[in-house]
């Protein structure tokens, strides 16, 4: 038990030290606090994007889904690849525009391109409303793991409190730089933990081949869709692919990790690196399926991995792997807290309350926002019950709706503000009505998929029907897109291979 407590203490203290050390490089500007002065290098970018993207949803939720619902979570391999591709194709354009026009939040880009305060506020509201529940599940998952790893000596409420206390300290001091540095540690622990847990737990039933052979005999429905409960077929397979990848990608925490990048070329290799990292899900396949053989009667599926570790692994190893799981939660939670505080500070405080705020004042407001949102998420974690994957998907379905106006802003000059506003809220309303309201999602596809469909149709249709009047804004973005192509895709220019004058890309 002493060894486990030491592991937990190290897990808490080492990132704290790293975060504090990183703060020595910080400057007292809002751009440094929120996006590291747009100078984040390749290693930090990869680890902070990957560790932020991989959350308690990935570490605990994946095991729980294989355990309860069969193979539907295998679609995670594809959604990681989609996420990686979007980080390249969308992210690089967002980064370029962010660098050119000094954006810090999603609202900055969308509000600026569409020249609309209503859209600016809408985007801020959607990012805040849908990020906080996702933040809550990180805390729930991470604190639960710490509670189990300590053998109950650290109760859930205290583990959650410690969790946020540490995050607040290093983010308060170092901003996104501290997060990126700690995410290198969290990311390495997370991938090790997922893989090794799968290897170790499956060895208890004779290894992967023996595991699948036993499962084929005892519960073959776990190995094919629609799974043992009969409700996780192709519609959910496709829905998870779309909603998870797009929803997480559109979260404000990932936006900040687009704006923070130092060089455009870093985006080119991220699809490969993020795709490669997805192999860690094989660990979850093995852990979750081993649970079906070893512990078939667990009430809360989110607890299957910790229960098996405590039952079958040496205590120290179990604690180390659970610390890795808590890393998944912490590395997402720290980024989300920081991101929502950025949105509140820049999109609400600076824009509507104190336009002339000094850099120091902005950073201070950002820090107090950290504390406020941490407290809100802490209270929710203690009072709102729920299964990690269920809450996570609902939250992701909301933020996913931001993709449509974003693509319009980065790639389509005809994209119209009214179309963006109407379609965005229609998509969100669809998600809410089908998730919490009287409507049910047709054909088994998730509400987020229907929301995106309605969102897209309305956006394209209305943008074609309406005409933008603010040509100066449209021209400014045309010029920026032209310059982007000139720098990264010269083959798209009208006179490729020759010097060409500026031509709008329509």
């Amino acid at each position: 038990m002493t060894g486990s407590l030491l592991i937990i203490a190290a897990f808490m203290i080492i990132p704290l030290l790293v975060g504090v050390l990183s703060a020595r490089h910080s400057q007292t500007t809002s751009e440094d606090f929120f996006v590291q002065g747009r100078a984040m290098g390749s290693i930090a970018v990869f680890f902070t994007v990957a560790a932020t993207w991989w959350s308690a949803f990935a570490f605990l939720g994946s095991n729980a889904t294989f355990y309860t619902n069969g193979p539907v979570f295998l679609t995670a391999l594809a959604w990681n690849l989609l996420f990686g591709f979007m980080y390249y194709w969308v992210g690089k354009r967002v980064w370029f525009l962010g660098k050119r026009f000094n954006y810090l939040t999603p609202s900055d880009l969308i509000g600026d391109f569409y020249n609309s305060e209503a859209l600016r506020l809408s985007v801020a509201a959607i990012t805040l409303i849908f990020t906080v529940p996702y933040l809550q599940i990180q805390l729930t998952g991470g604190a639960y793991l710490i509670e189990v790893a300590s053998g109950g000596l650290i109760p859930f409420w205290l583990a959650a409190l410690l969790f946020y206390f540490i995050i607040i300290i290093y983010v308060w001091i170092g901003g996104i730089r501290a997060i990126a540095w700690t995410d290198v540690i969290y990311g390495a622990l997370l991938f090790f933990g997922m893989m090794y847990a799968g290897y170790y737990i499956s060895s208890q039933v004779g290894g992967p081949a023996a595991l699948f052979s036993q499962l084929q005999q005892s519960s073959p429905e776990h190995l094919t869709m629609p799974g043992p409960n009969g409700n996780m077929g192709y519609p959910m397979w496709f829905s998870l692919f779309v909603v998870t990848a797009i929803g997480a990608f559109m979260g404000p925490q990932i936006w900040l990790r687009m704006y923070s990048v130092k060089h455009g070329k870093l985006f080119n290799m991220m699809p490969f690196l993020l795709g490669l990292a997805a192999f860690a899900y094989v660990g979850s396949v093995l852990s979750g399926y081993s649970g079906v053989i070893l512990e078939p009667d667990v009430d809360n599926p989110d607890q299957i991995l910790p229960i098996m570790l405590m039952e079958y692994a040496p205590y120290l190893l179990a604690s180390l792997i659970m610390a890795a799981g808590a890393s998944a939660a912490m590395s997402t939670a720290n980024s989300q807290i920081h991101a929502v505080s950025t949105v509140v500070t820049m999109d609400i405080y600076k824009r509507y309350i104190n336009r002339g705020a000094s850099q120091a004042r902005i950073v201070t407001i950002g820090r107090f926002s950290l504390v406020g949102f941490s407290l809100a998420a802490y209270i929710m974690a203690l009072t709102v019950p729920g299964v990690l994957v269920t809450i996570g998907i609902a939250a992701l379905a909301g933020t996913a709706q931001l993709l449509i106006p974003t693509i319009g802003a980065i790639a389509w000059r005809k994209a119209h503000p009214t179309a963006a506003l109407v379609s965005l809220w229609s998509g969100v309303a669809c998600v809410l009505l089908m998730t919490f309201g009287p409507l049910s999602a047709p054909f088994g596809f998730h509400a987020g998929v229907w929301g995106l469909l309605i969102n897209t149709v309305l956006f394209v249709g209305l943008s074609h029907a309406l005409q933008r009047q603010d040509t100066a804004v449209v021209e400014r973005f045309d010029q920026a897109r032209y310059d982007y192509d000139a720098e990264y895709h010269p083959e798209r220019l009208p006179a490729h291979g020759q010097e060409s004058t500026r031509t709008a890309i329509h």
């Binding site: 193979p71 026009f101 020249n115 720098e487």
Partner: protein, 86 residues
């Protein structure tokens, strides 16, 4: 569509094809346990195979600058914006 160089077309075409293999109803053809390969169910093998193929394609894309010629000029200097926020 002149800007779609053969290499770029191959990369994006290959990517689309693999996503279709993984996420369209084609996946239902692979939704079976047998034949197992090295003791691994066919659905898992199918997913791992296409995951590997697309990851490798992303590596090729990176090494070939995603099918675009190497850029010669730099236009990324900042310019002020009406919605300047930082």
């Amino acid at each position: 569509m002149k800007y779609l160089t053969p290499l770029k077309l191959s990369i994006y075409g290959g990517m689309l094809f693999i996503f279709v293999m993984l996420e369209s109803p084609v996946i239902l053809l692979a939704n079976r346990i047998e034949p197992m390969l090295m003791g691994i169910p066919f659905l898992l093998v199918w997913n791992l195979f296409w995951w590997f193929a697309l990851t490798a394609l992303f590596l090729v894309a990176y090494l070939t600058n995603w099918g675009s010629p190497t850029p010669q000029i730099n236009h990324s200097a900042k310019q002020p914006s009406e919605g300047d926020t930082a």
